[in-house]
């Protein structure tokens, strides 16, 4: 240090340890997995590299159901999280007054409890003889022997719950930044509430909507814990397949191919969504959420 390093070299010296770590333990593993995904063989005979692109087509056709389900569940959870989160973020940003910080704290409180245990808590809540199911049976929404646990409902509910704060925080950040005078101008110009909301508030909060939906959708599509704990193999998502192929069946080429297909599909979704919602909104807030 001590100024002896040439000025031009200093930033690279500062970058080296952090980026070196990411290079060795993130980039190289991914590259190695790409190599792995093109191997052929069985666990007994070992796997050898063979430019086996058929791994990809086979993985896609064998597990198209789980892929479709992952994106369906993640999409549903994102939509529900938006419907739950937007009004809450709106109230915190515009109505909460001095309760604002306390309410924001309440939003992130679920993160203070271990992910797996939060999910187990839903297992408790939705269990067959639990309060919720009993009540719904009495009201008649759930049939006498019907259940919530181990269904699509419980899995989507769990995913929504676990990623909801990721939706609310960016929504809040973009709503809070809106200049209230713009809304007042809208009312002064005889805009009805609905007009002001749809023409001023909502467009201005789009960066939050884009960031929130992506932060919810991306981890949700790769999730397998909710399907495992709150569902059955009928609810399994692609994450379940990757993890069991890799850790239980030691079918590394298929697991590797599935991983890359998942990332490619997710990238496609992100690009399409960015196209629809506007790239500016995407890049404007990413990671820069201020207090």
């Amino acid at each position: 240090m001590r100024g002896r390093l040439k000025k031009a070299g200093l930033p690279y010296a500062l970058l080296l340890p952090g980026l070196g770590w990411l290079l060795i333990f993130f980039v190289i593993p991914l590259a190695y997995m790409a190599f792995e995904s093109l191997k052929i063989g069985t666990l007994d005979t070992g796997y050898t590299f063979n430019w086996e692109f058929a791994n990809y087509t086979e993985a896609l056709s064998d597990f198209s159901e789980q892929f479709a389900r992952s994106f369906e569940y993640a999409g549903l959870a994102t939509l529900i999280a938006l419907l739950i989160g937007y009004p809450l973020a709106y109230v915190i940003a515009f109505r909460a007054g001095r309760w604002r910080n306390a309410l924001l704290l309440a939003v992130i409180v679920p993160f203070f409890v271990t992910y797996l245990i939060r999910t187990l808590s839903w297992e408790t809540i939705l269990s067959d003889s639990g309060l919720v199911v009993e009540t719904l049976r009495t009201v008649g929404i759930v049939s006498e022997d019907g259940r919530l646990l181990d269904t699509t409902v419980s899995v989507v509910m769990g995913i929504t719950y676990n990623y909801l704060p990721f939706m609310i925080l960016p929504l809040y950040a973009s709503l809070e930044r809106i200049d209230v005078r713009l809304l007042e101008a809208g009312y002064d110009l005889y805009g009805r509430r609905r007009d002001v909301f749809f023409r001023v508030t909502l467009p201005l909060s789009m960066p939050g909507v884009v960031a929130g939906t992506l932060l919810t959708f991306i981890p949700a599509a790769g999730d397998f814990i909710n399907a495992e704990l709150l569902g059955t193999p009928n609810q399994f998502m692609i994450g379940n397949v990757i993890q069991s192929r890799f850790l239980e069946l030691a079918d590394y080429p298929t697991a590797a191919a599935l991983s890359f297909i998942l990332m490619a599909l997710m990238l496609a979704v992100v690009l399409v969504w960015a196209r629809v919602a506007g790239t500016e909104a995407l890049l404007g807030t990413e990671g820069e959420a201020r207090r």
Binding site: F26, Q243, F246
Partner: protein, 274 residues
């Protein structure tokens, strides 16, 4: 018109209240059920109030919970220290210097965050298997440092933007060496950002299951323990530990907020001459 508006306001508040309830009820359930005295192996149905699990948090029908927690804390502390140090240096380079390749690096640090955890774990295990690295404590640590780095870099970077460089120049004009300038001026100024990054890294490490599960070998962290236990039994002890982690995190959070407010108050009175 007036009443309709009031009705809408009321509806909105009730809706927001229900959303908050949805967020908080599962957490309340965990705390309440940590006081349950369940019949059988699963803690799903309320039986009766009991302090048993709280007085014996590391016991219960499934042994090993205390060791698992200790391992988790150890990994969290170590990975936080390394990731925070390396990440802070990277963030400093990204905000403070113009250099060739800055834009791609800024973009690159988001990629690990956008990669599904299951893919991160699988990729790392591919590497370890290929080079016959035995998985265990050290591979978990490597993995946790890896996924914490991006979070640290982004957190510290967002705090560094808007950093007043003239303070450093003033120190150098007064004859401070670059080393002194860093430790006496720069570091105290960026410390709040570094502390938030470290807290985040600690919490993420303590919480991680997916990547840990791929890289743990036979080492058992608290989430791995919970995963293994969840298939055979869910003793209330698991909820006790979760409640403890919850309370400690909440306390740490409130303490930092309070500390930062105090720092802001002190900073805001400084310009006035004594």
């Amino acid at each position: 018109m007036r009443t309709r508006r009031k009705l809408l306001d009321g509806f909105l508040n009730v809706y927001a209240g229900l959303a908050l309830l949805y967020l908080l009820v599962p957490i309340a359930i965990i705390i309440v059920f940590s006081f349950n005295d369940p019949r059988g192996r699963f803690n799903f149905i309320w039986q009766e109030f009991s302090f048993d699990a709280w007085t014996d948090p590391f016991g219960g029908p499934v042994p090993g919970i205390g060791d698992a927690l200790a391992t988790s804390v150890e990994i969290a502390v170590l990975s936080t220290l390394v990731a925070t140090a390396l990440g802070t240096l990277t963030a400093l380079a990204l905000v403070r210097y113009e250099f060739r390749g800055r834009a791609p690096v800024n973009f690159f640090i988001f990629i690990p965050l956008a990669t599904p955890e299951v893919v991160l774990g699988a990729a790392l295990l591919s590497l370890f298997l290929n080079f016959s690295v035995a998985t265990g404590f050290s591979t978990i640590l490597i993995a946790h440092i890896m996924f914490n780095l991006s979070f640290v870099i982004i957190t510290v970077r967002s705090r560094l933007i808007g950093f007043d460089r003239s303070l450093e120049e003033a120190a150098q004009d007064l004859g401070a060496t670059p080393w002194q300038t860093f430790w006496l001026v720069t570091f105290p100024l960026i410390l709040p950002g570094v502390i938030s990054a470290a807290l985040l890294a600690f919490a993420l490490s303590l919480d991680d299951f997916v990547i840990t599960n791929f890289t743990s070998g036979s080492t058992i962290t608290f989430p791995v323990f919970v995963w293994g236990a969840a298939r055979v039994a869910i003793p209330p002890q698991i909820y006790v530990i979760a409640s403890m982690i919850f309370l400690v995190t909440l306390a740490a959070m409130l303490l930092t907020v309070w500390q930062q407010r105090r720092a802001e108050r002190m900073a805001s009175v400084r310009p006035e001459p004594a």
